[in-house]
């Protein structure tokens, strides 16, 4: 039961990634996905293996990594913005086929 929000959150993330055009919005969707997975870890840890802490630690590290990822991603987005003057994902499709 505790996993339902996480699942929905993940689904929202996927949905957002696929549908949104704004790169920042896409990054937000990705954050949702990462966050939902963290919930998974924690819930599994708490409910199934309450005598350990490794799920929690994993979530901890995952949060840190997610933060790093976001930082790099935002840097790239800004970079793209500088070149393309837009943050629209449909703009960066020059490399294809």
């Amino acid at each position: 039961m505790y996993l339902i929000p996480s699942l929905i959150m993940f689904g929202c993330g996927v949905f957002g990634f696929i549908t949104r055009k704004n790169m920042i919005a896409i990054l937000i969707s990705l954050e949702l996905m990462l966050n939902s997975v963290d919930i998974n870890f924690v819930v599994f840890n708490r409910f199934l293996y309450p005598d350990q802490l490794n799920g929690m630690f994993f979530a901890l590290f995952a949060i840190a990594i997610a933060a790093a990822e976001t930082a790099v991603a935002i840097a790239i987005i800004i970079n793209v913005y500088r070149v393309a003057k837009k943050v629209d994902i449909s703009e960066i499709t020059k490399l294809k086929f």
Binding site: V14, F17, I18, T19, I26, I89, S90, I92, T93, K94, L95, K96, F97
Partner: protein
């Protein structure tokens, strides 16, 4: 006297072939011809001494206590091992027929060599282009033919069959710039090749069951050879009958039996001496020789023998009929040859086994006898024709007429030849033909009458040719041309020699030397047959004299009266057209071309299609790489989901 030197018979011509072919080009033309002729003379001498030693030598024990003439195995080398038992050997086997053939071949070959010295030169005695090549090929042919007759086993015979075919091809195509010659040589080769195919199959069947190629082993007990197939049959006939029939077809190809005869008339495109040598005297009798070689087997397998008989008899009549109307003298002679060879074939076919009845083996003897005499007088006729053609530069008898005054020697020689072939005593043809007719009557009166009619036709058409060449009307010398005249001695000498032989050969006691079982066969003249055959011949000659001696309109009247028959015969009953249709229209157009098309479009097309499919698949999936991250991720995610879902479905359900 030993037969060790017999190898020279093969070695000299072969060496001459290489020598003249490789070195001769650098030598003078005349010298080449002379060297070739002298070498042939040496071969001739050796052949004669072999034959003499074989027939008359007594110290070798060739004649056993029972009076049977043994065959001598002078050489036998392993040449090619098929299996432990089936080994192809090359060697020299001397027995009556091979010794006889040695004489025939070497004689004619020598004379042709001699004759060609003149024939192959222009009017001023300057040798033609390719003179060396010509002599080289002649030597090759002589080698092959000699190798054929001395073959110790059936495979060696096949080998030399092929060799003979090739040298014949080369000689027919000697004038290689002429399309007709190319065509004729090709035709000759392919038709005989087709026959050889059957020969080969026959050999394979025969050797499979008998486990040997060797003539001596086969002949030692023909009954056991035939029974080695253990009564196996194929399509109702015993396999041995099949084998022998196939082998006969091989022989029929070389011997121009109907329906494989079509190459021979065309082969007349070659130089005339070549026709004399190959297409009159030697190569064309290879088939007869083959059947004679295997005679002990054939005689036990009457089914095959009957086929030989029917084919032979039919061909004799058929060819004779065509010969009656040909205007090209060489073609006429060619059909005459076909007819005569069919005569020999028939003689073999009607022969009973030696020792059966009073005349057992008579047909065999007669056939060989006729082979011998025919070779002589037919070579004579061809060489005469050669002399004539050389003089008037044409093959058509319409360009000749009335040459008797210009070329007396040739005329007389030709007349002797005609008399010999017509079977007028005392010329050679009479004796041999008479024996054949006797043998045919022995078999059945039907065949006797049949062959007698053919004999009459022979007399008719030969004299028709003779009259049309030498009489009919006065010869018109075209402007700018020399009047025809008799040739220099190298050309007339062979004519004279052959004419003499044609006169006297009939008196050779052939039955004493050449018989089916090696025992002397005592013949006696069958007077009714002899007289009747002479009468029929005389009727034929008379008819010809009536029609063709002086210029008159009887022939054209008859021609218009029997126009259909005449035209059909003139066109050789359309056999060539039939072949043409089958080869070009059916095989070439309906088999080869579709196969080639199929190959390029279907087989190759499939391969190209595979390549094209790859490329188009490559283009079809191009859209996958659309450049948009979102679609990439969609693929990614769906891929992962599918991976999970499908595996779940497969594993858990």
């Amino acid at each position: 006297m030993s037969f060790d030197f017999s190898i020279l018979v093969l070695a000299i011509p072969f060496f001459m072939f290489l020598f003249l072919g490789l070195v001769g080009v650098k030598m003078g033309k005349k010298i080449t011809g002379v060297v070739g002729t002298i070498a042939m003379g040496v071969t001739l001498f050796i052949c004669y001494s072999i034959a003499f030693t074989y027939f008359f030598g007594t110290d070798q024990g060739q004649i056993s206590a029972e009076g049977v003439r043994q065959s001598v195995l002078a050489y036998d080398w392993n040449w090619l091992t098929f299996t432990d038992k089936l080994v192809v050997k090359l060697g020299i086997l001397l027995d009556p027929i091979s010794a006889m053939m040695l004489i025939v071949i070497s004689t004619i070959s020598f004379l042709v060599h001699l004759f060609s010295l003149g024939y192959m030169s222009d009017e001023y005695g300057k040798p033609e282009k390719g003179f060396q090549r010509y002599y080289s090929f002649l030597a090759l042919f002589t080698f092959s033919m000699l190798g054929l007759v001395v073959a110790t086993n059936i495979f060696q015979m096949f080998i030399f069959f092929e060799m003979v075919g090739v040298s014949s091809y080369l000689l027919i195509g000697f004038y290689y710039t002429s399309p007709a010659a190319i065509h004729a040589s090709k035709k000759a080769f392919i038709v005989t090749r087709l026959a050889d195919l059957f020969f080969l199959v026959g050999i394979m069947i025969l050797s499979y069951y008998t486990d040997t190629f060797d003539f001596n082993a086969l002949m030692a007990s023909p009954e056991s050879a035939l029974s080695s197939a253990h009564g196996q049959t194929f399509m109702g006939c015993s396999v041995m009958a099949w084998a022998l029939t196939f082998i006969f077809i091989g022989g029929a190809g070389k011997s121009a039996m109907y329906p494989l005869h079509i190459w021979l008339p065309d082969a007349m495109e070659g130089p005339t001496p070549v026709s004399a040598l190959i297409h009159a005297a030697t190569m064309v009798v290879a088939g007869v020789f083959l059947v004679a070689r295997l005679f002990p087997l054939y005689v036990l397998e009457q089914g095959s023998m009957n086929i030989v008989l029917v084919v032979g008899a039919f061909t004799a009549l058929y060819a004779a009929a065509i010969a009656c109307v040909q205007s090209d003298i060489k073609r006429a002679l060619a059909f005459s040859t076909i007819s005569q060879i069919a005569y020999m074939m028939t003689a073999l076919a009607v022969s009973s086994a030696p020792g059966v009845g009073e005349e057992g083996g008579l047909g065999y003897m007669a056939s060989m006898f006729h082979l011998f005499t025919h070779a002589m007088f037919k070579a004579l006729l061809f060489l005469c024709a050669g002399a004539i053609i050389h003089a008037v530069h044409s093959n058509e008898n319409s360009h000749m007429h009335g040459l008797h005054k210009f070329m007396p020697i040739t005329s007389i020689a030709f007349l002797i030849g005609c008399l010999a072939i017509a079977g007028i005593p005392p010329f050679a043809g009479f004796f041999s033909k008479d024996e054949i007719l006797v043998a045919c009557y022995e078999k059945s009166p039907l065949w006797g009458v049949w062959m007698a009619i053919v004999a009459g036709m022979t007399a008719f058409y030969m004299f028709r040719i003779y009259y049309l060449i030498f009489h009919w009307k006065k010869h018109e010398v075209k402007e700018g041309h020399h009047a025809p005249h008799d040739m220099q001695w190298t050309m007339t000498l062979p004519l004279i020699i052959l004419a003499v032989i044609s006169c006297v050969a009939g008196f050779i006691p052939f039955g004493k030397y050449v018989t089916a079982d090696g025992q002397a066969l005592h013949t006696h003249t069958n007077w009714p047959v002899a007289i009747s055959s002479v009468c029929i011949a005389l009727v034929g000659i008379g008819l010809a004299t009536k029609m063709y001696f002086k210029e008159n309109d009887l022939p054209s009247k008859l021609k218009s009266k029997f126009n259909g028959l005449w035209t059909a015969a003139y066109n050789r009953f359309y056999m060539d057209e039939l072949y043409q249709f089958i080869t070009h229209k059916v095989i070439f157009q309906k088999v080869c071309k579709p196969i080639a098309w199929f190959d390029r479009h279907v087989i190759d097309g499939t391969m190209n299609l595979l390549a094209d499919m790859t490329t188009s698949a490559s283009f079809a999936i191009r859209k996958m790489q659309s450049g948009s991250i979102q679609s990439y991720v969609l693929y990614y995610f769906l891929g992962a989901i599918m991976l999970a879902a499908v595996t779940m479905v497969i594993v858990l359900i």
